[in-house]
């Protein structure tokens, strides 16, 4: 029987057994709902179409409506003015949430008037309305004093706003995608890498491993396990990503940058590489243990490395995506899965660096697998206590 069939049978068993377990189905459903909900809910609850309705009590000074709309434009918000015959009608509309604020100014501009809110004052809106009313009143006073209305209007132009290094459209979305990507990779490594670890310990504990290894090579068993559980992890990742993208598109809140498909592809590649590296390490560390508690102890160095890599990525690399820390971490296999997608999201990695880092990581995975499979073969049948890596290596020596 060809070896690939043996590997595939192991992988298929993992996919079927774990894929239909209630735990897996529920966790995928739950997290997907979470992803969709966290994106859609804010836009549903706080629907913001960009128009601010403001009520004005008649009789109102001439030009108030125009002044409100003009000041609104200056502040980047669209003001929609509706007039009410008296203060009571305006208050009713305010209570019914038909307008955000009610402005009441004496028609002769003899006083500043009032701005009324339903419950809490919106400072920005209050300031906007205030400026419009103050402008009208200052204009009236100066016109009376004989000032040229054209020069006066020109004097009220706002200064132009500019930035030295303007943020590109979609920068925020990129940053968000990069960060979500790093978190997804971390979660993927921890949840599915640990599934490999517990799977190995369970097989050892239930002693089924002796029956399995009487026909399946230890290396093929480890490979099939990593493969099968990895496919489940990938399915879960893709469900997340698709749900997230769908939710973002539906809500229309954030515009997706044109680089999104590339980012998702890169994320998937590094998810696979990161998972393969860490789950292989966790798999053979699991074989050294004979009980679950020992396995979690044995896995501590690996989880520490993963956490350190993650924090290096989200602090040092985000801070300076082209800095020396970022470049060095790109070529350290345990750190690369977190660092590279972030750097790519900021356009701070060259294609050569990208290809090289993938190559270095693949070589590291292969090396770890060869060493790991031999340790696994030597350790997995020893059921008395925790084994040293060196003893396991010797015991499986060919």
């Amino acid at each position: 029987m060809p070896r690939w069939r043996s590997v595939w049978l192991v992988a298929r068993r993992e996919i079927i057994e774990r894929g239909r377990s209630r735990g897996f189905v529920l966790s995928v459903a739950f997290t997907t709902l979470l992803v969709i909900g966290s994106i859609l809910l804010p836009t549903v609850l706080f629907r913001d179409d960009g128009i601010t309705p403001v009520g004005v009590v008649d009789p109102a000074p001439a030009g108030l409506t125009e002044a409100l709309v003009a000041t609104g434009t200056q502040f980047g918000s669209e003001i929609e003015v509706s007039a009410f015959p008296d203060a009571d009608a305006a208050a009713t509309a305010l209570e019914a949430d038909a307008v955000d604020a009610v402005v009441s100014v004496p028609p002769d501009l003899s006083g500043p008037g009032t701005i009324q809110f339903a419950d809490e004052a919106d400072d920005a809106l209050a300031q906007l309305v205030s400026q419009a009313v103050i402008g009208l009143r200052v204009q009236a006073v100066l016109a009376e004093a004989g000032v040229d209305p054209v020069a006066l209007a020109a004097a009220q132009d706002a200064p132009a706003v500019d930035a030295l290094d303007p943020r590109e459209e979609g920068d925020e979305a990129r940053f968000l995608i990069a960060n979500i990507g790093a978190v997804l990779i971390l979660i993927g490594i921890f949840s599915f890498g640990f599934t490999v670890l517990t799977g190995v310990v369970e097989e050892k504990q239930s002693r089924v491993v002796e029956v399995v290894l009487s026909t399946v090579r230890a290396r093929d068993l480890l490979m099939g396990k990593v493969l099968g559980i990895g496919i489940l992890g990938l399915v879960q990742l893709l469900v997340f990503v698709l749900a997230g993208l769908a939710a973002v598109t539906l809500s229309g809140g954030v515009e997706l940058p044109a680089t999104t498909p590339g980012a998702v592809l890169l994320l998937t590649v590094w998810f696979i590489l990161g998972y393969a590296l860490y789950s292989t390490a966790l798999g053979f560390l699991g074989a050294l243990a004979s009980r679950m508690e020992e396995a979690s102890n044995a896995s501590t160095p690996v989880t520490t490395i993963a956490m350190v890599s993650y924090f290096v990525a989200i602090f040092a690399v985000v801070n300076d995506p082209s800095g020396i820390v970022a470049v060095v971490a790109t070529f350290i296999p345990p750190a690369a899965p977190f660092v590279v997608p972030l750097r790519a999201a900021f356009d701070a990695i060259t294609p050569i660096e990208l290809v090289l880092s993938i190559a270095v990581t693949v070589v590291a995975i292969w090396g770890l697998f060869v060493v790991g499979a031999r340790v696994y073969a030597g350790a997995v049948l020893q059921t008395a206590g925790r084994m040293k890596i060196r003893d396991a290596w010797r015991s499986a020596g060919e």
Partner: protein
């Protein structure tokens, strides 16, 4: 034919195997006997490549055993174990496929063996939902579903109730009749005597006796005599200094005699003492042969 040739294996300071050799032939049932720690499980693990011998080889049909050959073997380890939460039908299918059966053949074999074990209606049950005895049946079915040419069973009878023992014995006989070579280890020597023709006795990593049970018995220098002479109280036996009296109960005595004893004269002497109601002359039991073989192999100081 399976040949175990000069296997040696150390675990640190512990010698597990020290040059063990024996063979298992198709259609024959070999009882593999030995005290705890004698090397039985290590030998079986060497057959399946689960332990790597320091010296010696295991050959199948004249060739060193490789993975391809092992696919045709069935194994039931001493430490029973299957996937607890996997459905038993799928479990049988999975292992049959790992032994090289196609999906369809594996499925058919799983159904057939579940029926054979009387568990046809439990195919969809998880293993952990079955009773201990039924789990043992599944374990046996896993070893058999791919129709192996060699069956290696480590303590197959331990933990079974009399019905389970019956099923196990039937299956072993049936497989042997179909031309399968069977090796099984056991401490229940009466059962072994009942089930198999050949035995191999291992002690301290070496084979100390091997062959058909009848031949081993015939080769033994001792015989049992169970004799009862009415009214004598066993007094007539004092005329025979060469024999060892094992037990005495009124007129009845159990005696150990050498194989060279003159049976005619012995019987005549008993008749002279009174009415002979019982006179049974038998070879030793397997358990005695076992004790003898193991004791003889022990270092001298340990015997003293």
């Amino acid at each position: 034919m399976l040949e175990i040739d000069d296997l040696a294996k150390r675990y640190g300071p512990v010698v597990a195997l020290d040059g063990a050799s024996f063979t298992a032939t198709p259609g024959r049932i070999v009882g593999f006997l030995g005290p705890n720690g004698a090397g039985k499980t290590t030998t079986m693990r060497c057959i399946f490549g689960l332990a790597r011998p320091d010296r010696g080889t295991v050959r199948w049909k004249g060739q060193p055993v490789d993975r391809q050959a092992r696919l045709g073997f069935g194994y039931m380890p001493e430490q029973r174990g299957l996937y607890p939460r996997m459905r038993v039908g799928e479990q049988l299918e999975y292992f049959a496929q790992q032994h090289g059966l196609s999906g369809r053949d594996a499925s058919a074999a799983a159904t057939r063996w579940l029926e054979r074990m009387g568990l046809g209606d439990r195919a969809k049950s998880k293993l952990e939902e079955l009773s201990h005895g039924n789990q043992q049946r599944i374990q046996l079915a896993v070893a058999l579903a791919h129709d192996p040419a060699l069956l290696v069973l480590d303590e197959p009878f331990s933990g079974l109730d009399p019905i389970g023992i019956g099923t196990m014995r039937d299956v072993i006989h049936e497989r042997a009749a179909a031309g399968v070579g069977v090796i099984f280890s056991s401490h229940q020597l009466d059962l072994v005597e009942d089930v198999c023709e050949d035995v191999v006795i291992i002690a301290r990593g070496r084979i100390v006796a091997a062959g058909p049970i009848d031949a081993l018995k015939a080769r033994s220098g001792r015989r049992h005599l169970d004799v009862e002479v009415v009214g004598d109280g066993g007094a007539w036996l004092s005329g025979w200094p060469d024999l060892t009296i094992l037990s005495r109960d009124g007129d009845r005595a159990k005696v150990l005699v050498g194989i060279d004893i003159d049976l005619e004269r012995l019987l005549a002497s008993a008749r002279a003492a009174g009415e002979v109601r019982r006179f049974a002359y038998e070879p030793p039991k397997l358990s005695e042969l076992f004790m003898e073989a193991v004791a003889e192999s022990a270092p001298r100081e340990a015997v003293a």
